[in-house]
């Protein structure tokens, strides 16, 4: 490994980036993956600890929360969309309509929020 690194310092970076994406791809939207990989390859080494430490919300967990507690906006509160959460809470889940829309939209919303969080580092 050390030998390889001394010959080609770039390979270690791409290994890290691929490892990161393998474990974290589920947190992001498919069309962002390529962009994330490119950014990860070009970032400074000092940023890696921050990126590895960043915690993301699991879209499948939020989906479950949305199914059971979406009518009170708990799903939106959890992903950090507090304002929308208050709106859902006050309108009883947007008269039930918004709740149903969010059953299908919340996974993408979660992934988008995760991307916004990652973007602070890369």
């Amino acid at each position: 490994m050390d030998l390889e690194k001394s010959f080609n310092p770039k390979s270690n970076d791409s290994l890290k980036a691929d490892l990161y994406l393998m474990t974290n791809a589920k947190y992001f939207q498919g069309h962002h993956i390529n962009y994330i990989r490119e950014r990860l390859l070009s970032i400074d080494d000092s940023k890696w600890p921050l990126i590895f430490a960043a915690e993301f919300k699991d879209p499948s967990n939020i989906q479950l929360v949305s199914l059971f507690a979406g009518a009170w906006g708990i799903d939106r509160f959890m992903i950090g969309d507090t304002g929308v959460g208050v709106g859902k809470l006050l309108t009883c889940g947007g008269f039930g309509i918004w709740t149903i829309i969010d059953w299908f939209a919340i996974q993408d919303a979660t992934k988008q929020k995760n991307m916004e969080k990652l973007q602070q580092f890369i």
Partner: protein
């Protein structure tokens, strides 16, 4: 969330709120016994935290403020939003500003502070308990 998306959502929600409130205002009170838009109440029979906000807003519109508090104090927040936000939206859209958007973001961050969020959650839960006790 981007500015235009927020404004679009606000417009839709406000339009729905006004439609629903005006429909409620023009219909008699006894309809509450047989009609509610809340899925949760249909399924479980338990009122949810926001139950009674429509009745509260209707009472505010008719000037019965004490009744409004007794039904659901959250109605005052809903009424305030319904009065202030359309004007604010109009101001922002006509002058092409984003004051509402900036304040919305500030408000979101303010709500995420632990010492603000916890009391508010407790208040909502207490209010919910009161709702169940009143059997709205």
């Amino acid at each position: 969330m981007r500015r235009n998306r927020l404004y679009l959502i606000l417009c839709v929600v406000l339009a729905a709120s006004y439609g629903w409130a005006s429909w409620s205002l023009t219909h008699t009170q006894d309809r509450y016994d047989n009609f509610t838009p809340c899925v949760f109440k249909y399924v479980t029979g338990i009122p949810c935290p926001s139950c009674g906000i429509t009745r509260s807003v209707v009472n505010i519109a008719r000037g019965n403020f004490i009744n409004a508090v007794l039904i659901n104090p959250l109605g005052f927040i809903a009424a305030a939003i319904m009065i202030v936000f359309p004007l604010w939206l109009l101001y922002d859209v006509t002058l092409k500003k984003d004051t509402l958007y900036k304040h919305y973001n500030k408000f979101e961050n303010f709500l995420k502070v632990k010492w603000v969020a916890i009391p508010l959650v407790i208040l909502v839960l207490v209010n919910w308990g009161w709702n169940i006790y009143k059997d709205l």
